[in-house]
């Protein structure tokens, strides 16, 4: 099977959806002529023309607002807000306009809109280019949030997001763009559905985005310590597929949720709360691994320590289970 790079998966999904549906348009800062600052969208402008793919001013509020207005009048915009950190700027349009429209209008129209952004730390980008904005939008009814970890899911989830009639916040972790993997087997993957990416009987590790390959690496390390970890790739953060996690915990009786972001107000804590509420009888232990309650630091030593990588995940599991490293 041919290998698919994560960034190519993104490009191909947009390309194919523009081809498939004449109402899909794609715009953002530096996405057309330059092909995106992370080279995720090269060639789309040349192939589909200015009417379908275009560069915008550095005006995130106008971009999101215009995308909203276009979405309720017949277009299906896909926009790129370059870094997730910049999502603070278009917040009014996304939170007060796009997210509420379907409900408040009494279901006169929904808002088919996808907002893509590069997210996450580890790139030495510092505090204002390293955040994951999912938690800013976690509490907003009407929004969906996709958070793929694998190229196949990136492509299939983005296609689902573009075809979805509701606004979708689509997260792309910077440190996944160059990851290669198999192409998707299905054309789309449903939003809001998790995936067990490694089976195991001793503990469930649930995560999303870069946390998934980190959890898989930790699971390999833990295997040599005699701990058999199951890894759940959440793939979407809203709706959050607690059912898949509960089913996994019913087998493993332990749950660790790993989130790149602070514990306070995070999705990991929400998931843990739901699992405790619904599946306390299955739980022997459950806990969270997050970043510190500080902004992302710049210096490599500080940033590496800040992130809950494979070593930190494995160490946390060993400590909690009272197992020494092999």
């Amino acid at each position: 099977m041919s290998e698919l790079e994560f960034r190519t998966a993104i490009r191909d999904a947009i390309d194919e959806e523009i081809e498939r549906d004449p109402s899909v348009v794609f715009f953002g800062e530096d996405v057309a002529a330059a092909g995106g600052v992370f080279m995720t969208t090269p060639g789309l402008h040349e192939k589909h023309g200015q009417e379908r793919v275009f560069d915008t001013p550095i005006s995130e509020l106008a971009m999101a607002g215009a995308a909203f207005g276009a979405a309720v009048t017949g277009l299906r915009p896909v926009i790129e807000i370059m870094f997730g950190d910049f999502m603070a700027l278009p917040m009014d349009s996304l939170v007060n306009q796009a997210a509420k429209y379907w409900y408040v209008s009494n279901e006169q129209a929904s808002v088919p809109l996808v907002v893509r952004s590069a997210v996450g730390a580890g790139g030495r980008f510092g505090a204002m280019h390293s955040q994951i904005h999912a938690t800013w939008f976690q509490g907003i009814p009407g929004l969906k949030i996709a958070a793929p970890s694998r190229p196949a899911d990136a492509k299939a989830l983005l296609k689902s997001a573009i075809r979805d009639d509701n606004p979708v916040i689509f997260l792309e972790h910077k440190r996944l763009y160059s990851v290669k993997g198999p192409a998707p087997e299905e054309e789309t993957v449903p939003l809001g559905r998790a995936n067990v990416v490694r089976e195991g009987g001793d503990i469930t590790i649930a995560s999303a985005l870069k946390g998934v390959p980190d959890a898989l690496a930790a699971a390999d390390e833990l295997a040599s310590d005699g701990i058999d970890a199951e890894v759940v790739d959440l793939r979407s953060l809203r709706p959050l597929d607690s059912e898949t996690v509960l089913a996994s915990v019913a087998r493993t009786n332990r749950l660790l949720v790993v989130e790149e972001g602070p514990q306070t107000g995070g999705w990991a804590a929400v998931l843990l709360g739901v699992v405790a509420q619904e599946g306390l009888h299955d739980l022997d232990d459950c806990w969270l691994l997050n970043t510190d309650e500080t902004p992302a630091p710049y210096s490599p030593t500080l940033e590496d320590a800040f992130l809950p990588g494979p070593g930190a995940i494995a160490a946390s599991v060993r400590e909690r289970l009272g197992v020494a490293a092999a």
């Binding site: 915008t56 001013p57 005006s59 106008a62 607002g65 309720v72 009048t73 209008s105 509701n166």
Partner: protein, 339 residues
């Protein structure tokens, strides 16, 4: 401190007269528009009355005094054109064609409301009549119309944003004007300048003088319009909408007008000097249309006929809305997502 011009300048009067001649329209067409203005005025008076009776909840922002702007602008639009309004949006909705009974029922939180009682006064949506929405946050309508214009550019049609003077100090305004000019969007930005951003005189918190000239920085055509003169508003709208329809890009219209009530329910409007209020009340846009129509030869009983017809229509609308059921939380809880 700068204050609103309360008398039309000679130039504005001349423009209005010229517009009337150019448009070559019969007084009968203006009689219909006068009826629509009266409908908005009566609607606002009824909402005020029903609010005091406890039937309208939360807050409302009444547009009485500003009726010539939405009616004049919407008179230049097709039913399929898009409009985005503000939280002072009852007039925007009624001018675009929203049924007064459905709008009144929405204010009353009833199941028969245009949004089933989910929206209330500030967030009305009526897509069937091209009302993309009324937006509860200052500046939101500017972006919504800009986006609707992206669609209209591809599908045909024009989009209009109504917004107040206060919105012109928001990021939405500046980002969207630049955006619309860059992409030649078929959009008309209509600023209803009533000279107060909530309780604060606009002039106290705004640099650079009149709002219309802000378009100049973006290379956009703009005009300052006497917003209490229906003829002047309509003439400016025909020109701006025509430009948008021809593919010649956006226009900013600063329509100077005045609200008769305070900003919202909790505001008696005491920060406005009495002589200023008086001078604007003396230029009530409905009185101006009425006087002009009499001048043009419309009979008094014809005007009175339209007035009583509108009043009866409004009475029936309120009566029906008051009789309508409240939404049932068991049945009408709604869904988070479509599909």
């Amino acid at each position: 401190m700068a204050r609103a011009e309360t008398e039309p300048t000679g130039a504005a009067q001349e423009r209005a007269d010229a517009a009337r001649e150019r448009a070559g329209e019969s007084p009968a067409e203006y009689l219909e528009r006068y009826g629509r203005m009266r409908l908005i005025r009566r609607f606002e008076q009824e909402i005020q009355r029903l609010f005091l009776r406890g039937e309208v909840h939360g807050t409302t922002h009444l547009s009485a005094g500003q009726e010539a702007v939405p009616v004049g602008i919407c008179s230049a639009l097709e039913p399929s054109d898009y409009v985005a309004g503000t939280y002072r949006g009852h007039g925007h909705a009624l001018a675009k064609g929203t049924d007064p009974e459905a709008l009144a029922a929405e204010m009353l939180g009833r199941a028969t409301g245009v949004c089933g009682g989910r929206a209330g006064s500030m967030n009305v949506v009526d897509l069937e009549h091209g009302l993309v929405g009324c937006f509860g946050i200052v500046g939101g309508s500017v972006a919504a119309a800009t986006g609707a214009a992206l669609s209209a550019q591809r599908q045909g049609g024009v989009a209009v944003a109504f917004f107040g003077d206060g919105a012109t100090n928001q990021g939405y305004f500046h980002e969207c004007l630049n955006w619309a000019q860059v992409f030649d969007l078929p959009v008309v930005y209509v600023c209803e300048n009533n000279f107060y951003g909530e309780f604060t005189p606009m002039a106290d918190v705004t640099a650079g003088g009149e709002i219309g000239i802000r378009a100049t920085g973006y290379g956009m055509t703009s005009r300052v319009v006497d917003g209490n003169d229906l003829w002047a508003v309509r003439e400016a709208a025909l020109e701006a909408v025509g430009r948008a329809r021809a593919g010649d890009g956006p226009t900013l219209l600063e329509c100077q007008t005045y609200r008769h009530y305070g900003h919202s329910k909790s505001d008696p409007g005491k920060y406005r000097p009495p002589d200023e209020v008086e001078s604007w009340l003396a230029r009530d846009p409905l009185d101006l249309v009425r006087a002009r129509l009499l001048e043009l030869g419309v009979a008094e009983d014809e005007l009175a006929g339209v007035e009583s017809e509108i009043d009866e229509r409004m009475d029936r609308a309120v009566e029906a809305a008051l009789a309508a059921p409240y939404p049932d939380p068991q049945r009408d809880a709604g869904t988070e997502f479509k599909g």
